[in-house]
């Protein structure tokens, strides 16, 4: 998809004005929050499980090069073909190569953010193959020609009526109720699964000690994509590796609860190599593509690398007041919300993402919600510092200059009080568009007799 992160300010303002979107977001984020909350209330030993999950992720990051080599060796031993992709173009080339070698005419895809990240679909389509997103939400946004708007629920921004019209227009399939529409999608995609030559999925994690890829889902489309077609390709961003199956089990205890409030997602597949001898289904050929795309550079930054600990439960999106207000599309790339702001800033060119870390009130709701205790606000500030590059915002810099000199500071405030005690005029000076907009919707505070003067007067009175 086209990267439009540089228009974040404008697109967020546009999203705010979309009344329907606001209603959908309100409903969605409340829904996920209440599911999650209910599930966590009955989660025995929650804090210990969260801490173990965090340790599993951080431990993996701390041993990343070694674990990736171990993963590679064990995956190869299990019969998986392993590829390394430095960037999106390499990942596309590798997977297109696999598709061509397999003469793949129909390709089915499981939901995967990382395949969106490398813009895989258009590249596969160029080979002449049909490419089908098979997660219901992804299928809907694919038909609509839109990117997903939420990590967990890609089509939350679409109403039932939208889907009715979309299915009629694009598939000539007619249904009204949500179960009917779901059944139509099942039938349409069932055909594709059965005729597919290749299945492409992401990977929720990969286990170094066994060479396994673990996939977590609710619909069964990922199981279909890995069971029916001859070839299975898993595209994994490199930070998703964990050291042991024990670590993976610890993460599985936390991920579904935090994402959807389920004790376990409907389907978890632990895939270790292609089908064994004598088996009648499962891919005959399994590929694991390990993708970097800018992540390895982040590992040297002691603060920002914490973003790589994320396992994409999406909980931070649902609690973020900004995400709740503008939704996923306004962020301008596939990743949205607090973690999306961090990932986009780390993976895209800096010139494209200057505004992203400022689109955050630093309220910390994300940090308090994250099961892995990722300190999003701290990382947001580190990114702001990187963007500011020593300088700051002009208003902030002027304020800081004055604040370093108390006399000048007092004189400036005194002067302001003399000409504009209600602060209505100063805020409207040209060159401060944000400030004038601010005072349009908030009556500015009055400049009163300062506390210091009041206190001095009071002490003098008491003395005399």
């Amino acid at each position: 998809m086209e990267v439009t992160t540089r228009h974040f300010r404008q697109s967020s303002a546009r999203a705010c004005r979309d009344v329907n979107l606001r209603a959908v977001l309100d409903h969605t984020t409340r829904y996920f929050q209440s599911k999650r909350q209910a599930s966590l209330e009955t989660f025995e030993g929650r804090d210990a499980h969260f801490a173990r999950a965090r340790a599993a992720r951080l431990n993996a990051l701390s041993r990343l090069p070694e674990l990736l080599e171990q993963l590679e060796a064990n995956a190869i031993a299990a019969g998986t073909i392993v590829h390394w992709a430095a960037d999106a173009a390499e990942a596309r080339a590798i997977i297109v190569g696999i598709a061509k070698a397999a003469s793949a005419r129909v390709i089915v895809k499981g939901k995967s953010m990382v395949t969106e990240e490398v813009a895989l679909n258009p590249a596969l389509e160029e080979t002449g193959a049909e490419v089908w997103e098979t997660d219901l939400g992804e299928f809907i946004v694919q038909l609509a020609g839109e990117p997903p708007s939420h990590i967990i629920a890609p089509a939350v921004h679409k109403s039932r009526q939208d889907v009715v019209e979309l299915f009629a227009e694009k598939l000539n399939l007619h249904g009204e109720s949500i179960p009917e529409l779901t059944l139509l999608a099942r039938r349409a995609l069932r055909e594709k699964f059965l005729s597919a030559d290749m299945g492409v999925t992401g990977a929720n994690m990969a286990v170094a000690e066994t060479g396994s890829v673990i996939l977590v889902e609710n619909e069964g489309n990922i199981r279909m994509s890995t069971t029916c077609p001859r070839v299975h390709v898993a595209l994994m961003s490199l930070e998703k590796v964990v050291a042991t199956m024990e670590d993976a089990a610890d993460l599985l205890r936390v991920l579904p609860r935090s994402a959807t409030g389920q004790r376990m997602s409907s389907y978890v597949s632990v895939l270790t190599g292609p089908r064994g001898e004598g088996e009648t289904d499962g891919a005959r050929e399994m590929h694991l593509v390990i993708l970097d795309n800018g992540r390895s550079e982040v590992l040297a930054d002691p603060v920002l690398r914490e973003a790589l600990a994320c396992f994409r439960c999406g909980a931070c999106l649902n609690v973020c007041p900004v995400y709740q207000t503008i939704g996923g599309h306004a962020y301008g790339w596939i990743y949205s919300g607090p973690i999306g702001t961090l990932l986009s800033s780390l993976l895209l060119p800096r010139s494209e993402t200057r505004d992203l870390p400022f689109g955050c009130t630093l309220c910390g709701a994300c940090k308090r919600t994250c099961p892995l205790s990722i300190d999003h606000p701290k990382l947001m500030l580190a990114l702001r510092e990187r963007t500011a590059g020593g300088g700051g915002n002009p208003i902030g810099a002027a304020h800081a200059l004055l604040a370093r000199h108390p006399l000048a500071y007092r004189m400036a405030v005194g002067a302001a009080r003399a000409v504009d005690p209600r602060l209505d005029l100063l805020a409207r000076l040209p060159g401060l568009p944000g400030l004038s907009r601010f005072v349009d919707s908030r009556r500015p505070p009055e400049l009163k007799t300062p506390f210091t003067a009041r206190r001095r007067k009071k002490t003098q009175k008491e003395r005399s």
């Binding site: 009130t361 702001r384 915002n393 800081a400 604040a403 401060l432 300062p450």
Partner: protein, 248 residues
């Protein structure tokens, strides 16, 4: 016992009554209040715009302003939090770093400080009012006791009915520089907050964060539904006098 009063810039010039109330409550609890000279800004604005150089300079100033030993008390959760961030601004091993650690340890948000004082449980404040408390997100990062302190103090005021908006800890949309750069989002958030507050039909709006008070009350005023916006200290001080002042 004595304490040094740290007056946030917004309070100094726009809500001086809050600082006066802090003095009244502390003195009522037999704390001698000192007010170190030379206070301007703790560096929060610079820090949050990514301007670490200026944040560091202002932090270094405050290490001097508050060099004298003894607790530092501030009627703002976010400013107190900024001082707790100071150690991260200086390299470990430097004298600034150790002074920053010391200052961070002895800096308290007003409510958390008062709640820990002897006599806080029996302040004897009394005020017949329906108060909507806004629990600023900036106080959430404190210990649970710190985040709960304002509620605890307000519950101790006889006659006061404490109500909280539907999503009490949700951000009001201010976020400093955020409100200037993402004006539409900021406005949408303060609209949400005001709607939820007005639904409770309170007499007053109370918070321990002056910037939230400014943001929310400013929008309420533009809506034509103004509410007295008070710092927790102002409510306590009024309650100690047992009279409702003509809130401004």
């Amino acid at each position: 016992m004595h304490a040094h009063l740290f007056v946030p810039c917004l309070v100094e010039d726009c809500q001086p009554e809050a600082a006066e109330a802090v003095v009244a409550v502390l003195e009522h609890l037999n704390v001698e209040v000192r007010h170190p000279a030379g206070q301007t800004c703790c560096g929060q604005l610079a820090y949050k715009t990514g301007d670490l150089k200026n944040a560091r300079r202002l932090a270094a100033r405050y290490l001097d302003v508050f060099a004298a030993p003894g607790p530092v008390v501030c009627p703002s959760g976010s400013c107190a939090k900024m001082v707790r961030t100071y150690p991260a601004l200086f390299a470990p091993g430097t004298s600034e770093h150790s002074r920053a650690l010391d200052l961070a340890m002895r800096t308290f948000e007003f409510c958390e400080f008062v709640a820990g004082l002897p006599g806080a449980d029996s302040l004897g404040a009394e005020l017949a009012t329906r108060a909507c408390y806004h629990g600023s997100c900036q106080l959430q990062d404190q210990t649970d006791d710190g985040a709960e302190a304002p509620r605890k103090l307000l519950r101790g005021v006889r006659g006061l009915t404490l109500v909280e908006a539907e999503r009490p800890d949700r951000c009001c949309g201010f976020g400093g520089i955020f409100s200037l750069q993402f004006t539409a989002v900021s406005e949408a958030l303060v609209e949400d907050k005001c709607r939820e507050i007005l639904a409770l039909e309170p007499d007053i709006l109370v918070s321990a964060e002056p910037s939230c008070l400014m943001n929310i009350s400013g929008h309420l005023a533009r809506l034509g539904r103004p509410l007295p916006a008070l710092h927790v200290a102002q409510v306590l001080a009024a309650g100690l006098k047992k009279e409702t002042p003509p809130w401004k």
